[in-house]
């Protein structure tokens, strides 16, 4: 291979090389400029000279394949790549500021700040997973934030793209990555499960809220393998004031079996956005690690080490959507609500990992000052929540899959759309009233939601005979 062409002032494919800003074990980073491109740019150049780590080449090749295909605010934009036959490089948008690693000296962070950061990372992961990519190296130094607050994931050298060849497949005898954050299934060679990223995020949340790494820092295979059977100390054991909802989330993220974790990053983001609605299980209160009998069973249970079939990332995400059902709790909606419940039940029966958010909008007057109490002094908000839970009860859903939300808004359709956007909802089920004076006067909520939502919308209408009964 030719000697590196990269030096300050050199021009390569229209990019003018500036200064070297980072020299790592795998790659060097240079600032570059290009006429017509106005965002700050970085050129990443792999270290490929004789005697360098062979991982540098393979992980660079992965980035070369994956980064140009990524889009959206949660990844750096890609502006060009060069191949090995001349000079390998990737030119990416330079994200201003420092990585999350710069906060390490401030640990532990407040629970609230960790919750917000965790939610931002989970949202970014959800966006990445939707693009068929598993990051596989989630850790503080691969996380940055845009000035607008959006989390940006960087360093895709260990990533897996479900629709492209996985070049790391057979390259290394040992799983390659950052030991403290590596999911247990990675130690068995599994590279196609997006929930491996949720495990790493759980380790990060544990570390950022307790100041301790749950699985230590051992880099040896033997040390890393312990996480296949040994669970870490529950955070409450380290910090007595640790909120149960947060322990519930963190311990679920770092479950040994991927199927026990949150089904998708979107669902994890949803829980972090609604801590008061997190269904607390025995995880939440735990103060001790699992008893030795459990640990031994895990260690010697052959069934746990059976390889599973290859998974399809997009199929897995599609099986765990967030569904919203918009429910009117007013009198006279019985038939429609029954139809909504039937539709929801049909959807849920085919989607075992879906979660359901029941939504009701408490309409505020434009002019009048609304009071949260009605004439009888009852709290309207609480009444509605009770009504939503009552609606959902016949579905028989596990509470960890069900939440209820009462939004207060002047414009119900706008409130439903905003909730959908903020929570990455995949599917809205909403009823349309057949004929009503109000609808004629105010326009249809369901029509506006169906027209403007970014996700799938199912509009439910009761059969004509049922509609007449109301």
């Amino acid at each position: 291979m030719a000697k590196s062409l990269i030096e300050p002032g050199v021009e390569l494919d229209g990019f003018t090389i500036g200064e070297c800003v980072h020299q790592g074990g795998m790659a060097t980073l240079w600032t570059v400029t290009h006429p017509g491109i106005n965002v700050p740019l970085l050129m990443k150049v792999p270290r490929v000279a004789e005697g360098e780590d062979p991982a540098a080449i393979v992980s660079f090749e992965m980035e070369q394949m994956i980064v140009p295909r990524l889009a959206g605010p949660h990844v750096p934009g890609c502006f060009g790549t060069g191949d090995f036959d001349r000079q390998p490089y990737v030119v990416m948008e330079r994200i201003p500021g420092k990585t999350l690693y710069s906060r390490i000296d401030e640990l532990p962070l407040s629970y609230e700040e960790a919750r917000v950061i965790g939610g931002q990372i989970a949202t970014a992961l959800a966006d990445l997973h939707r693009q068929n990519v598993i990051h596989h190296d989630i850790k503080p130094s691969s996380i940055m934030f845009r000035p607008s607050g959006e989390c940006v994931l960087i360093d895709f050298g260990l990533s897996h793209h479900n629709q492209l060849p996985d070049l790391l497949q057979e390259e290394f005898r040992l799983p390659y990555g950052t030991a403290p954050y590596m999911a247990p299934e990675r130690l068995r060679g599994v590279r196609d499960d997006p929930r491996s990223d949720l495990f790493s995020l759980g380790v990060l949340l544990y570390f950022f809220t307790t100041g301790e790494r749950p699985f230590g820092e051992s880099e040896t295979l033997r040390g890393m393998k312990r996480r296949l059977w040994r669970d870490p100390y529950p955070p409450r054991k380290l910090k007595a004031d640790y909120p149960p909802w947060l322990q519930e989330i963190v311990l679920r993220c770092i479950e040994i079996e991927p199927t026990w974790r949150h089904p998708t990053a979107s669902q994890l983001a949803f829980e972090l956005a609604h801590p008061e609605q997190v269904k607390l299980t025995s995880r939440a209160e735990r103060l001790r690690r699992d008893p030795l009998s459990t640990v031994w069973r895990r260690r010697f249970n052959q069934g746990m080490t059976v390889q599973r079939a290859k998974s399809d990332v997009s199929e897995q995400l599609a099986s765990g959507p967030i569904l919203v059902v918009a429910i009117d709790t007013e009198e006279g909606s019985t038939a429609l609500n029954e139809c909504l419940r039937r539709t929801a039940a049909q959807l849920l029966s085919t989607l075992p990992s879906a979660r359901l958010a029941c939504l009701n909008v408490l309409k505020l007057g434009r002019v009048t000052i609304d009071r949260t109490l009605d004439e009888q002094g009852n709290n309207k908000h609480i009444d509605r929540l009770v009504a939503l839970r009552h609606w959902a009860q016949p579905l028989g859903l596990d509470e960890s899959r069900l939440t209820a939300h009462v939004l207060e808004a002047v414009d119900p359709a706008a409130a439903i759309l905003e909730f959908t956007r903020a929570n990455s909802v995949d599917h809205i089920v909403i009823g349309a009233r057949q004929s009503s004076m109000l609808r004629a006067l105010l326009g249809s909520v369901s029509a506006k939601v169906a027209a403007e939502a970014a996700c799938t919308v199912t509009v439910v209408r009761p059969p004509p005979s049922a509609a007449k009964q109301d």
């Binding site: 090749e61 036959d85 629709q163 492209l164 060849p165 070049l167 390259e171």
Partner: protein, 246 residues
């Protein structure tokens, strides 16, 4: 330049004409045929004439084992394939048989090698079933990309500069950049008799500038192709298998 590459057409006019239409619509400028133009299917004359026409216009074509068997009785095959070969031999004219008989085993174009079965022993018609088979083929050539068919199931293998292998089942219509730092073996699915459980016809397109390879699937009138096989008295299994892609 955009290349459209076809393997294992197997005298299936409905499938091949559907693939040619899609390839042209996607801007194919040159064509490559990886052998087994005939055998199994009911339209050998049309298939050979079409490939001959493409070759006259600059296409590249290599020999497949079924093409070879039409000219020599020595090629051993299973009973159904043999029945189809004998039927085919009777249908083809002397110039058509001569065209098949004169096809080369391999062809080289820039840094690409085209071969029907695999590159290590092209005349032995070995299948590329797994990574070791692929490694043998890649090791036998200095080509950056080898294209082959024969097994009727699409796959994409690569070998790194450290001789480490990767294997991959391609996703339809998702281009893969065949990186310059490693060497590749692209195993194509079959145009005329897919066997990967998907009855749609299979071919691939390569953009030689960006080095992006795209595996394509084309739905076609499978019923009509199957009916024609039955109507010509060929073994019924050759018709039935088209419907299930097995």
């Amino acid at each position: 330049m955009r290349l459209a590459i076809f393997a294992d057409i197997h005298a299936n006019r409905h499938a091949f004409s559907a693939c040619l239409d899609v390839a042209r619509a996607r801007g194919a400028e040159r064509f490559v045929c990886l052998g087994d133009i005939v055998g199994y299917g009911a339209d050998p004359e049309w298939a050979v004439d079409t490939v001959m026409g493409l070759v006259d216009d600059g296409a590249i074509a290599v020999l497949g084992n079924h093409d070879h068997a039409v000219g020599t009785a020595s090629e051993t095959m299973n009973a159904e394939a043999q029945a189809a070969i004998e039927w085919t031999r009777g249908r083809l004219s002397v110039p058509q048989r001569r065209f098949l008989g004169e096809l080369p085993m391999t062809q080289r174009q820039d840094d690409r090698l085209y071969v029907h079965s695999e590159a290590s022993h092209p005349a032995r018609w070995h299948y590329v079933r797994d990574t070791p088979d692929a490694a043998r083929s890649i090791a036998a050539t200095n080509a950056h990309i080898t294209f082959c068919g024969h097994i009727h199931k699409p796959a994409l293998y690569s070998m790194s500069s450290a001789a480490k292998m990767t294997s991959f089942i391609p996703t339809s219509d998702v281009p893969v950049q065949l990186l310059g730092g490693r060497r590749w073996l692209a195993v194509l699915g079959s145009v005329g008799q897919p066997r990967d459980g998907n009855p749609a016809a299979s071919f691939a397109m390569l953009d030689t500038t960006t080095r992006e390879l795209t595996y394509c699937r084309v739905p076609y009138d499978v019923e009509a192709a199957a009916d024609q096989i039955r109507a010509n008295g060929l073994p019924h299994w050759l018709a039935d298998r088209l419907l299930v892609g097995k």
